[in-house]
């Protein structure tokens, strides 16, 4: 839409204008025929509706681009200067590296408004940690503050700066690493599922999903597809636990082998040892490999090792890792026991948890423990 204080005939002239170089004909009309201080503006595209882009002719050769943030609830705020059009050379004036407000994001929004070469269009995509612009001649780079691009020929006018080169390389390296890891994890998961099925296990039953318009949870516990209802566990190696993506299938295999057997195969260190009424408790940090997700090769996970006071059997139980939601605040045996027993929940009043630092909640030692 054209906003101008000039007569209707100029509006009509703009409407009738046939753009040669830029997709957005109003901007090209402003370059070719606009008067100084004349402006055109356009509202951001879907997902960017609250931004208004304003192009104002500064002098015969320069057009300034501003963005103004506008929302119904909070009114219109002062915008920022986002770039300059010098003839047909567009220069980005936005700095910042965050995907939603940096150079790449703003450039993408301008592209969506047609600030792009008509004959030699380019593409932009966000990859891992940076935007990538690919020109018609195959040149690929990350946009940067000060980037100059020719709208007529669709070529880069200046060389990428250090920030741009670093961002591009980092994103490319990360992308390659994650793609490789994804491929490996897909392969691991696929093979583990195949083994599980061949052993007679039902992988579909373990999966949650929509059925007849309702969300149905996966069946907890191992389900067999065989007539005898059994799964041949010998066909499923123990380390498939770390290859499956489905939590229920992992739990089913764990249920079969037992946590004690699994932990024996894993590296771990002792974080804390405590004695309560003469009984020894150990808090272990166990290195759990994860071959089912792309970026997490292994995780340190807390486990409590204790002895059943009645039977004398050694026993392991997982404890939520410190720093997670609703988890112990410190990696100590007493904190872990307090979390395990739900001591914190007991200070609720009428079901409401008072606002106190959980470090002030001490482990309540049982009067009798069997």
């Amino acid at each position: 839409m054209l906003q101008t204080e000039t007569s209707k005939s100029r509006r009509a002239l703009c409407d009738d204008y046939q753009a040669k170089y830029i997709v957005n004909k109003e901007v090209e009309w402003l370059i070719e025929h606009g008067n100084v201080r004349e402006a055109v503006y356009f509202k951001g595209a879907t997902g960017d509706r609250y931004t208004i882009y304003v192009a104002i002719k500064r002098n015969k050769n320069i057009i300034d681009f501003h963005s103004v943030y506008n929302s119904y609830g909070y009114g219109t705020s002062v915008g920022s200067h986002i770039g300059i059009l010098r003839g047909y050379i567009f220069e980005m004036g936005v700095s910042g590296r965050s995907w939603y407000s940096g150079t790449g994001y703003t450039f993408k929004q301008l592209m969506r408004q047609g600030i792009m070469s008509k004959k030699h269009p380019w593409t932009i995509r966000y990859c891992r940690s940076a935007h990538f612009i690919k020109l018609h001649d195959g040149t690929e780079f990350s946009p940067w503050h000060g980037m100059k691009i020719a709208l007529q020929s669709g070529v880069l006018v200046n060389k990428p700066n250090r920030v741009s080169v670093t961002d591009y390389k980092e994103a490319k390296t990360t992308d390659a690493r994650i793609r490789k890891a994804n491929a490996l994890s897909n392969k691991n998961n696929k093979e583990a599922l195949e083994r599980y099925r061949k052993a007679g296990g039902d992988t579909k039953a373990a999966r949650a999903g929509w059925s007849n318009g309702r969300w149905v949870q996966g069946v907890q516990g191992a389900v067999s597809t065989r007539e005898n209802g059994k799964i041949d566990w010998d066909m499923i190696p123990m380390d498939d636990i770390f290859k499956h993506r489905n939590g229920t299938l992992r739990s089913n295999i764990l249920e079969h082998y037992g946590i004690n057997a699994v932990l024996k195969t894993l590296e771990h260190d002792v974080v804390d040892i405590d004695f309560i009424d003469g009984r020894e408790y150990k808090l272990l940090n166990v290195e759990i490999p994860d071959n089912s997700t792309s970026d997490r090769r292994s995780d340190k996970c807390l486990y409590l090792q204790m002895v059943n006071p009645s039977t004398g059997e050694d026993h392991f139980e997982g404890v939520a890792n410190v720093g997670n939601w609703n988890a112990p605040k410190e990696a100590t045996v007493k904190e872990a026991l307090s979390w395990r027993d739900g001591d914190r929940d007991m200070i609720r009043t009428n079901g409401v948890l008072p606002e106190i630092d959980s470090k002030d909640i001490k482990y309540i030692k049982p009067i009798t423990l069997t």
């Binding site: 739990s251 139980e317 404890v319 007991m346 079901g351």
Partner: protein
């Protein structure tokens, strides 16, 4: 607050006020046990092993009584109660794999210990 623990079942001995505030009030949620008809007050039932944390009222003093305070839609003997009361005389809670525990009269809130399954990536109550 006193704590009694038998394996995966934790029983917090609380005062009457706390108990009233944290358990359901209607009669439909209360299930009474004594030496007469209702004899086995099951505090937790292990679906996997079939083992029970329970008070067998036949073995208790005649005057002793246990009332389970169940949650919404919860069934006594199958589901874990929110709490229970022990009246008139102490009772003993037993389990197949754990030594018995003597519980004095009073009000108890029941909790099942939880664990974090790092392999499945979720927190859950320990299954007996």
């Amino acid at each position: 607050m006193e704590k009694y623990q038998q394996g995966d079942v934790v029983m917090f001995k609380v005062d009457e006020k706390y108990f009233t505030e944290n358990t359901r009030k209607g009669k439909e949620y209360k299930v009474g046990y004594n030496g007469g008809e209702n004899t086995h007050a099951i505090v937790a039932f292990g679906e996997v092993t079939g083992h029970k944390h329970q008070v067998n009222m036949k073995d208790m003093a005649k005057e002793a009584g246990v009332t389970l305070s169940m949650g919404y839609n919860a069934k006594a003997g199958v589901d874990v109660p929110e709490g229970f009361t022990v009246i008139d005389a102490p009772v003993t809670i037993t389990h197949e794999e754990h030594d018995p525990i003597k519980l004095p009269t009073g009000y108890y809130i029941v909790r099942i210990v939880r664990e974090f399954d790092h392999i499945a990536g979720r927190s859950r109550y320990v299954a007996d």
